[in-house]
Amino acid sequence: MSTYFNEMYEHGQVREPYARLEDWTRAMPAELRQMKQAEAEALFRRIGITFAVYGEGGDPDRLIPFDMFPRVFTQNEWRKLERGIKQRARALNAFLLDVYGRAEIVKAGKVPATLVYQNEAYERAVAGFTPPRGIYSHIVGIDIVRTGADEFFVLEDNCRTPSGVSYMLENREIMMRMFPDLFRENRIEPVDGYADALRRTLASVAPAKCDREPTIGILTPGHFNSAYYEHSFLADLMGVELVEGADLFVEGGFVWMRTTEGPKKLDVIYRRIDDSFLDPLCFRPDSMLGVPGLMDAYRSGGVTICSAPGAGVADDKAIYTFVPEMVRFYLGEEPILNNVPTWQCSKADDCKYVLEHLSELVVKEVHGSGGYGMLVGPKSTKDQIETFRLKIEENPDNYIAQPTLSLSTTPTFVEEGIAPRHVDLRPYCLVGEKIELVPGGLTRVALTEGSLVVNSSQGGGVKDTWVLAE
């Protein structure tokens, strides 16, 4: 365990951002902690923050485990992260606009054409289209891991519709309710500006045809979706409509909501459904979730879809390797945040290396998400490794590999008391007229001892994430 960076203790000393938390934990006896934990859970249930876990049956209204021990960044640490994240979000958007337009980066030979145009996430339907302000990805979630006091790596980018921001907001809300003293003693940057910032961002990309205060809606697949709570939560916080495909129709090149007072024009759609379900006329003809004619209205400038269909081509794990190159190419800057070194099994040399070092590496599917379909070498049995070897040999293009990172740990409340657990961080960067980032993000924690998988679908929990004010 000593090889992992502990964000609270370094060389037996409490690191500065956590200084006041030590007293806090010391002053909290076990019974009080249990009481508080139960209180937190009751609050989550009452608010209705639940998450459905696929394929396991049981109670559909499951809670994501919430750990009360906050994760803390100093103002200095955050400033660097913030600059790095914004830089990356700008580069990713420049890349998207480019590959759906003149494709300069491909012509320059910096990114292989096949990786872009043969990518499943590349949408011909938006080729040649310039969305309002040239922005394709309006909400960029960037997953970051830490391996040392000053070492941060980007694990992956999420340019489509990164989820989880409701937890960031609710975790803070609940912490403030339960431990008001903590917030008096520590000066913590607030996160509750997120909803306003999101609304501003969405409004700022309204179509040019919209000549009044834009009407915004969140498009949800419906109340059976595991993230429905988040959709309704965000709609409520922003004061915008939460719509399903059946609530909308297209006429005269615009999108209209079916309301009790007749049709009402919708200008900006923050969609939380996948590209292929957006419009049965353009994509999957069997989609019941989408709106027929939506893409025509979009491309003729009657409505803005956030994020743009096809934005996924930038967050693909095969494209990921090229993001530092994008930063240099489009911005003329050096990347502030580094990528994790990545082997691409599509390259013969890389693949050979990966197959020889399976037990040390983390292998991921190029198009996988949510921690499914991955192999964590050091934590796997011989059998698991051999099974995976066959999969890679069968379809090498589908896999990338990364070294097993020494993910940092933060103190976490566990049954026996307090123990270090591995964490990552997902901040949410908003890209519109301005690029905005609320100080903090969602910290996910692997609650099982020694585990490096932080995904909520695989037993991960969440923490409140603090950025200390100066």
Binding site: V243, T260, G262
Partner: protein, 317 residues
């Protein structure tokens, strides 16, 4: 608001009102069954109850003969029965979850608590559950929801759609409950005015939790005419057909006011209220109580369709 949101709100109210009616119906059945029956026997009384609730076919398919315990299960706990208390409460809560943000925390709590508690009730052995405990539980949940709505909800169009749901469902349900009397008594005209007849009328009153209210309003002997008047034409009785219809009209008028637009639903509601206001109870008996109720239920159904077309279908322009 979105038509779908309005529809969800409308149905929250309808399902809760319906759950309550089911509970009241069960109570009527249990009471009538305690009476020594006159000729046509215990079985047919329960059967007429299923008839009145519109669930006779589904029940016969699943259970066959109407046995009280089975009927209780079917009307209360059975998910195969779309009108059972448990079905209604689950759907009301699901409709609520969908429009969670259009509700206050208190209204959501009321729906959610009812949902959580009925799941617990289900797990208890049926032998431990007295019918009266169950029916009282339902009334309490419904009352809490109504209280939360009245006390906390914004008086906007959403409030109107909730109350339209309550009013239209109540108008329909009161008429159906009243019609039980027709099904139960139908074969024996000679019993009219007998002790048994009065007992059945009283049971109906009890089912409406209105015995005391009735005495306050009328006094003296309980007669069929007084009771019919009370349940159909008395504006002091919140469950009467006229009260429910007036409530529907008022909320439709509020909507027309809010939206600056009136339509066929408003006109129809006003016509219905007008007709009931002019009606004498003698005319009801002349037409025949059952015939009158059948016509009324149809009228309310048509009004519901108009509400649907005007606001909930999403097709209005």
């Amino acid at each position: 608001m979105l038509s779908r949101t309005a529809e969800n709100l409308f149905w929250i109210a309808r399902y809760i009102e319906r759950a309550e009616t089911m509970a009241r119906l069960l109570e009527v059945g249990a009471r009538i069954a305690l009476m020594p029956s006159a000729g046509h026997g215990y079985r047919s009384e329960w059967e007429s109850l299923l008839q009145a609730s519109g669930t006779a076919e589904g029940f016969a398919e699943k259970y066959g003969d109407p046995v009280q315990r089975n009927i209780e299960s079917y009307l209360f706990f059975d998910r195969d029965n779309p009108s059972s208390v448990v079905s209604c409460i689950e759907r009301a809560r699901e409709n609520g979850r969908i429009v969670r943000t259009a509700l206050t925390a208190q209204v959501w709590d009321a729906l959610n608590v009812a949902f959580q508690e009925i799941r617990q009730l289900e797990r208890r052995p049926r032998s431990e559950l007295e019918l009266t405990v169950l029916t009282e539980w339902v009334m309490r949940q419904a009352a809490m929801l109504r209280g939360a709505i009245e006390a906390t909800l914004l008086r906007n169009d959403g409030y109107c759609f909730l109350n339209l749901g309550f009013a239209l469902e109540r108008a329909d349900n009161t008429a159906r409950l009243l019609d039980v009397k027709y099904f139960v008594l139908l074969p024996s005209v000679e019993l009219v005015g007998s002790g048994l007849d009065n007992y059945q009328w009283q049971t109906l009153l009890r089912a409406f939790s209105a015995t005391r209210a009735f005495h306050w309003a009328y006094g003296g002997d309980i007669t069929a005419r007084k009771i019919a008047h009370f349940l159909i034409l008395n504006q002091q009785n919140p469950r009467s057909l006229i009260s429910a219809t007036i409530s529907a009209m008022d909320h439709l008028d509020d909507l027309a006011h809010t939206y600056h637009k009136s339509g066929p639903a408003q006109m129809r509601a006003r016509a219905l209220v007008g007709e009931l206001s002019e009606l004498h109870i003698e005319e009801v008996f002349e037409e025949g109580l059952h015939e009158f109720l059948t016509r009324f239920i149809r009228d309310v159904g048509e009004l519901s369709d108009m509400v649907y077309n005007a606001y909930l279908s999403g097709e209005s322009r």
